[in-house]
């Protein structure tokens, strides 16, 4: 891709980061927890976006960012108080800015009305808080235009008619003050630039140059008198001195060809000097100038800096991160996966060859295994990212929904530093959004209802993340009205999802929400939409290898709780043998394992068996038969039962021949070269190099059960 395109992508990436900083900073300001550095950072974020946007000519973005930036400038200067209404506007402005960035990047229609509305809001705040500044923040161009075209106000521009080639003659008198040099400007350079405009004759006046003994290096004694013949206009000539006009005495005058200009004093002086010595004074002058510089430079320097010693530190002082192509990381993760498999294979072969009797080899293999595990964990950690950006997005979602539903809501977050694999984070965004919408739209009461219930009018939604026993647990809780269990149960019965006389615990009723086709809203609001129910959310979480459940306390609120694997690439599994096949059962679906006793197994109907566990009866599934590895059912007493709980909360016992061991396996897709197999989630490569299939426990249980509701079909498919 070409360089400009690459920089454009960098710009939009940077915008994302800046928008994140902006959001965090503004929230902090809103809480009153911000210091001046935070306010500066917020200002810089918008300033940065504006700067880059200008370079890419994203005009609408520039325009909005400019007003936003000006308002923020006022706040950081103390000219405006960050009061609650102001902060509210700031946050909404941040949302509009984010949208403008997205549309500028991806294309789409700008919502001009909304932008203008917010611009008006921001300007109004500016006017309120700074009565002295009567006009709203000026647009970037206006000042410059005023400078360059003083006639614009008059409504007409003078027109020059030239009758002959425009050679203008200017007389320039230029005497630098010491400050000019102190800022690194150089008279000779300026003269050189002048000479680029046309033909220049320069004379240097040295009349003020004292004797060497009295020469002060920091002082400026020279002046220049120049005559320039050029086609350029006077502004171009003046422009050369743009940077130094405060630091010198400057006269630029156009010489009118038919008027003899009265000689200016400096000219007279120069002529006198010229008469004295032609070349020499100039040379001396030049020498004097150089001496000034040389003296300045030769002034004793500080001792050699310590900065030599730390090139790396300097480079990384600002940021302890590097940017890496995602493809490279993925490739690395794949290779490390292969490494793990290879290491397991090597160990296996050595074992088989009997060489493990050699203690050195045994230790070596052990060390290799530890090292490989460590490498794998470290590499997995590369793709791990904090959930913070995800939570920040939710913060905006809460604002929008609160606005749209007339609820007063505050989002509290906890544990945003918890790290999760990047792919998991990406796929969490939608489910989280749905759950938050649900919480705000259905869970939380309107402010008046809350007051009537003795609660604070502002509802709270809490979003938290934490690592627990090798998984990440994410919770969304609200302090709303909780689940109306009577209504939920009634709806489920009405929709035929449960039998009319079903006896369910409170928790079971709560989890009915996850059944498809379930929606208790009497009117489908715009927000929660039609058909986007909790069942879709649940399936998304399950597809990530996670679990989700809901708990609720009437009148006090509800909590969604999700448990997710840290990464999608590996799995903790139990390796089992079924009908001469080696299979892997995901550990997180296994509740317990047991060896069935004759007295515990009962037949139910011609084909089915159940196993008695602690007073209850659980279906027994012959995995080998189910998968078609065997044509006859096996004897349960000969095998091992794995007690499984599916995400639907159904329990079953899977019969396998034997358990081999428990280990972490690398997940390999079956889909790319073959496709989907019922009952099989994926594949993995064992230590002997052979492929073992990973069971989809939910699918197996559902396929063998009598339930044929649509959700089960979908899950099994």
């Amino acid at each position: 891709m070409d360089a400009m395109q690459a920089i454009r992508e960098t710009f939009f990436q940077e915008c994302e980061e800046q928008l994140g900083e902006l959001e965090t900073g503004l929230l902090s300001m809103q809480e009153g927890a911000a210091d001046s550095e935070t306010v500066n950072a917020v200002f810089r974020a918008v300033h940065s976006i504006k700067g880059g946007a200008g370079a890419f000519k994203l005009d609408k973005l520039v325009k909005f960012a400019h007003v936003f930036e000006t308002t923020l400038d006022k706040i950081r200067n103390g000219a405006m108080e960050p009061s609650p209404p102001v902060m509210k506007s700031m946050l909404r402005a941040a949302d509009v800015l984010a949208d403008l960035v997205t549309i500028s990047r991806d294309g789409g229609a700008f919502d001009d009305a909304r932008s203008n509305e917010l611009i008006g809001e921001l300007n109004a705040h500016c006017e309120d808080k700074a009565p002295a500044a009567a006009a709203p923040a000026p647009e970037p161009k206006t000042e410059e235009e005023a400078e360059e075209n003083p006639f614009a106000a008059l409504g007409w521009e003078p027109v020059t008619i030239s009758l002959e080639p425009d050679i203008n003659e200017y007389v320039i008198n230029f005497k630098p003050k010491p400050e000019l040099y102190a800022k690194g400007n150089e008279a000779t350079r300026l003269m050189r630039e002048l000479s680029r405009l046309g033909s220049l004759t320069v004379q240097c006046e040295i009349a003020d140059v004292p004797l060497l003994a009295n020469l002060e290096p920091e002082q400026s004694y020279l002046a220049w008198h120049a005559t320039l013949r050029t086609e350029q206009d006077i502004d171009s000539v003046r422009a050369i001195f743009e940077f130094v006009d405060d630091d010198c005495q400057l006269d630029v005058e156009k010489v009118e060809p038919d008027i003899s200009a009265p000689p200016l004093e400096p000219v007279a002086e120069v002529e006198e000097a010229q008469e004295a010595q032609e070349a020499a004074p100039v040379e001396t002058a030049v020498l004097a100038v150089e001496e000034q510089r040389a003296v300045a430079e030769a002034a004793p320097l500080a001792a050699a800096s310590k900065a030599e010693a730390k090139p790396d530190a300097a480079a990384s002082a600002a940021q302890n991160t590097i940017r890496v192509d995602l493809d490279r990381v993925d490739r690395l993760i794949n290779l490390v996966g292969e490494l793990v498999i290879n290491q397991a294979m090597l160990t296996q072969r050595v074992l088989e060859a009997g060489a493990v009797k050699n203690a050195n080899i045994a230790t070596g293999l052990d060390d290799l295994e530890h090292l490989t595990r460590e490498i794998q964990e470290s590499v997995m950690a590369i793709r791990a990212q904090p959930v913070r950006p995800l939570f920040q997005r939710m913060s905006r979602t809460v604002r929008e929904i609160a606005d749209a539903t007339g609820k007063n809501v505050r989002l509290k977050t906890e544990g945003e530093g918890a790290e999760v694999d990047r792919t998991v984070i990406e796929r969490l965004a939608d489910p989280l959004t749905h759950m938050i919408r649900n919480a705000v739209d259905h869970g939380l009461e309107r402010p008046d209802a809350r007051i009537a219930a003795g609660k604070a009018p502002q509802g709270e939604v809490k979003l938290s993340a934490a690592h627990k026993s090798g998984r990440v647990v994410i919770e969304i809780s609200d302090d709303g009205r909780g689940i109306d269990r009577a209504r939920v149960k009634a709806t489920a019965i009405n929709k035929g999802l449960i039998p009319a006389d079903a006896v369910l615990s409170d928790s079971e009723i709560d989890n009915l929400l996850f059944l498809p086709g379930f929606s208790t809203a009497e009117k489908i609001t715009n927000i929660s939409g039609r058909g986007v129910g909790m069942d879709v959310v649940k399936r998304s979480i399950q597809a990530l290898g996670g679990r989700i459940s809901i708990t609720s306390r009437p009148g006090l609120g509800s909590t969604f709780s999700m448990s997710l694997p840290l990464t999608l690439a590996v799995l903790d599994g139990m390796v089992v043998r079924v009908a001469d096949q080696t299979l892997v059962v995901p550990l997180n679906s296994i509740l317990e394992t047991m060896k069935p006793k004759t007295s515990e197994v009962y037949g139910l109907g011609p084909d089915s068996q159940v196993i008695g566990i602690r007073g209850g009866f659980t279906p027994l599934i012959d995995v080998g038969y189910q998968l078609g590895f065997r044509y006859e059912r096996c004897d349960p007493m000969q095998g091992v039962a794995l007690l499984i709980e599916t995400e639907g909360g159904y329990r079953s016992a899977l019969m396998v021949d034997a358990i081999q061991d428990q280990r972490q396996v690398v997940i390999k897709s079956l889909e790319s070269n073959y496709g989907h197999v019922d009952g099989i989630a994926a594949a993995t490569i064992l230590g002997d190099g052979r492929i073992a299939l990973i069971l989809d426990t939910d699918a197996i249980v559902n396929a063998s059960s009598g339930r044929n509701s649509p959700s089960d079909m979908l899950l099994a498919g």
Binding site: I7, R44, K50, G52, G184, F243, A296, E297
Partner: protein, 121 residues
């Protein structure tokens, strides 16, 4: 030997664009990410000219210029500031701090080189 230019800006986008414009014009480019980093790189690389942003974390452009001017070696090194508009106050402040000149962003690569030539050999 081509001129060495130090660019100091916290925005990656801006750094990339400056690098592209300047190396394209044959200059040798070194970069820093904020004022403090800028002073470090200044010492280490001794550039012939510096282009710096104003708004940066840790130490802003004004701080950087003042710091640079305090070092004898860099007292008269040309330093140009990047500014988004011709705000006379900001220009004044930059000049008081010791800036040699300014560049308005978004910058035109051709104009950038012109300004550079105006202030450096």
């Amino acid at each position: 030997m081509s001129m060495k230019i130090l660019t100091v800006d916290d925005s990656r986008t801006m750094r990339d664009m400056l690098r592209m414009a300047l190396s394209g014009a044959g200059f040798d480019v070194v970069q820093a990410v904020d004022g403090m980093d800028g002073l470090d790189v200044l010492e280490r690389e001794a550039p012939d000219l510096v282009i710096t942003d104003i708004n940066m974390p840790k130490m802003d452009g004004f701080g950087f210029i003042e710091g640079a001017r305090k070092k004898d070696k860099f007292r008269v090194t040309p330093i140009l500031v990047l500014t988004t508009e011709s705000d006379p106050e900001k220009k004044m402040r930059a000049k008081t701090a010791g800036a040699t000149g300014w560049i308005i962003k978004p910058f035109d690569p051709v104009k950038l080189v012109d300004v550079i030539r105006r202030v450096a050999a």
